[in-house]
């Protein structure tokens, strides 16, 4: 069985986001990381390979990105992926990314394709679904667990009030969310040392148009000062709500 884990290169989730103008992210000083869902997906894929070395022969990671995303890809290799593919293009929007991934997946055989529920940069939550449609593949959304039991791939999903377990025929796309792994795998020294020698294939992007274009980013208004009213000055509160906030 071959596993593909799609990884996005995103700003660290504690980054204070700034924009250069209103259309471009200001990338100065940003630390880039593997998208957290993707990192957990990869962790689970590695756990599966360690538990079932006879069933899982290879874990590949794929990223649509420029050379700037290679440190992130190398980290994935240090964690335990066997090889990597980078589609050499700026990931402009969800359809573009999904279509680029689909082009690569069509030319190679994978049994399970992991994508994160969303990416920590734009939170679009659409690549996994689009990928399934473009490849005409089975997809399972909101995956919170995956196991191999008696040779079958058993996928868990969180549903209202409980958990659903599915026996899923490969190949399929698993769009993963919370629960897939507890903590991301910390790369071991040996993994870090070997990461540079593992294959990283760079492929040219397919000729694909963007379907959307970012028109503008708008930052939320800064929070106003908090004012405290006590039981003794309820009348003042009513006055403020009426005259200043114009809510009553």
């Amino acid at each position: 069985m071959k596993i593909l884990v799609c990884i996005s290169d995103v700003p660290d989730t504690t980054t204070k986001i700034k924009f250069a103008g209103n259309k471009e992210l200001d990338k100065a000083g940003i630390q880039w990381i593997i998208n957290p869902w993707d990192e957990l997906s990869l962790t689970r894929a590695i756990e599966l390979k360690e538990a079932h070395p006879d069933k899982i022969e290879n874990i590949t990671v794929i990223n649509v990105g420029t050379t700037a995303s290679e440190p992130t890809i190398r980290k994935a290799l240090a964690m335990g992926a066997d090889n990597a593919i980078r589609v050499d293009s700026e990931p402009k929007e969800a359809y573009f990314v999904a279509a680029q991934l689909a082009e690569v997946i069509k030319s190679k055989q994978f049994d399970i394709v992991f994508t994160g529920l969303d990416s920590a940069d734009y939170n679009g939550s659409t690549v996994g679904g689009m990928l399934a449609e473009l490849l005409d593949m089975t997809s399972v959304s909101a995956v919170s667990g995956i196991n191999i039991e008696d040779g079958k791939v058993i996928v868990s999903r969180e549903i209202d009030g409980g958990t659903q377990k599915l026996d899923v025929q490969t190949p399929f796309i698993a769009v993963v969310q919370k629960g897939i792994a507890i903590d991301p795998r910390i790369p071991a020294m040996r993994g870090i040392m070997m990461a540079r020698t593992k294959p990283l294939e760079v492929v040219a992007p397919a000729n694909i148009d963007n379907l959307t274009e970012i028109v503008e980013y708008e930052m939320p208004q800064p929070k106003g000062k908090c004012r405290k009213f006590t039981e003794e000055n309820v009348n003042e509160l009513v006055d403020v709500l009426h005259k200043e906030a114009k809510l009553i």
């Binding site: 910390i186 790369p187 071991a188 040996r190 870090i192 040392m193 990461a195």
Partner: protein
């Protein structure tokens, strides 16, 4: 000059940071209070390869450079120096000593399991009456033909209980002074070895520190490191590298305390504004930042010299002395910035201050480092 870290160095730094935050932070205060050694966490650290990170891959180590080691030591020490010191002793003293001066047979038998993290090592030099003056070893290693008979007591031994492999410095020919000293590899489970109780220390309370007593302990001749009488030289050479580890530990203690003080100063309000906006506090933080930057540069310079096979003993002594001394200063100011909160355990800085004190004492006091540095100025 290139101050950029490589991708691998950044990855190791991040791995150590993730490990410390995920595995050590949540119970570090409790372990400190109970003097509890975190054997389970040391096992995980070993599995990740940190305990043998600098050993050559041909001896099953990670093959990482000293710069990576400094970065990892700093990150671990920001949160838990009791764990960081295990890594320091294993890498800088035991593994390095065996790799540099051991025979191939010794490396096969002892270094490889240490480098894989399957076993832990300890370095036994200090004695009740031989600390800074390490030439006055009272532990004897009497030459009995095929073996040495070891008798005596070693003090303040880090990893004494958890280690399987001891490197023991002992006197064989007292008439030759320090040139009669030998370094021996000793299995901890050899008959005649007993441990004193766990030391109840001021700081680094959960590190595994005991005295070790030797009573007619037989050690095969094949376990001697180097030629007869090489032991003192071996210990001094090994401690040159050990200083880089403890300097990085002190740096981590200082930067950990600084980060907490800076965060607190931006949140805590007094006289109508965050205390960072009071110059008395802002200048303290500025002074702390400068000291930490200097300390980091000294550690990395010493590491770079070692990695590029240049003499590093003097700069490592400078790094050890400076980092330990500023760790004491920075942690004291971090407690001051926290005010009353700094004096209670919940805010970590009082613990970091207690930990800082030890870095001025062990693996060569600050005063001994100044002897090393000043003597080099005469040459």
């Amino acid at each position: 000059m290139n101050f950029e870290f490589t991708e691998e160095q950044k990855m190791i730094q991040q791995a150590a940071k993730d490990f410390a935050e995920r595995e050590l932070l949540h119970d570090v205060i409790e372990r400190d209070a109970k003097s509890e050694f975190p054997a389970d966490r040391i096992k995980k650290l070993a599995e990740l390869g940190f305990l043998g990170m600098m050993t050559d891959p041909k001896y099953d180590g990670g093959g990482m450079d000293t710069v990576s080691y400094v970065l990892a030591m700093e990150e671990l020490s920001k949160i838990d120096s009791s764990v960081a010191v295990v890594m320091s002793v294993c890498n800088s003293l035991v593994n390095w000593g065996l790799e540099t001066y051991g025979t191939e047979e010794q490396k096969e038998k002892y270094l490889k399991p240490l480098a894989r993290g399957e076993k832990i090592g300890a370095f036994l030099l200090s004695e009740p009456e031989a600390g800074s003056d390490a030439t006055k070893q009272r532990t004897t290693a009497e030459d009995k033909g095929d073996y040495y008979l070891v008798n005596g007591t070693k003090n303040w031994i880090t990893n004494a209980n958890c280690a399987s492999t001891y490197l023991v410095i002992a006197q064989t020919n007292p008439e030759k002074g320090h040139k009669g000293i030998n370094a021996l590899i000793v299995d901890k489970n050899t008959p005649g070895i007993t441990l004193g109780p766990h030391e109840d220390k001021m700081g680094m309370r959960s590190s595994d520190t005991h005295s070790v007593m030797f009573n007619d302990v037989k050690v095969p001749k094949a376990n001697r490191i180097g030629e007869d009488g090489f032991g003192f030289n071996f210990a001094m050479k090994t401690l040159d590298g050990g200083r880089i580890g403890i300097a990085s530990q002190a740096l981590g203690i200082a930067s950990g305390a600084f980060e907490r003080a800076l965060h607190y100063a931006k949140e805590r309000k007094a006289f109508g504004t965050e205390i960072f906006n009071h110059q008395a506090i802002a200048f303290k933080l500025a002074d702390m930042a400068v000291k930490i930057e200097n300390a980091r540069n000294l550690c990395l310079k010493a590491a770079w010299l070692k990695d590029t096979k240049q003499p590093y003993g003097i700069v490592s002594a400078m790094a050890k002395q400076y980092c330990a001394d500023i760790a004491m200063e920075v942690t004291t100011e971090a407690v001051q910035i926290h005010g009353g909160y700094g004096y209670v355990k919940e805010y970590h800085v009082e613990r970091l201050m207690r930990e800082a004190k030890l870095t001025q004492i062990y693996e060569g006091t600050s005063e001994i480092q100044k002897i090393v540095i000043s003597r080099s100025l005469l040459k």
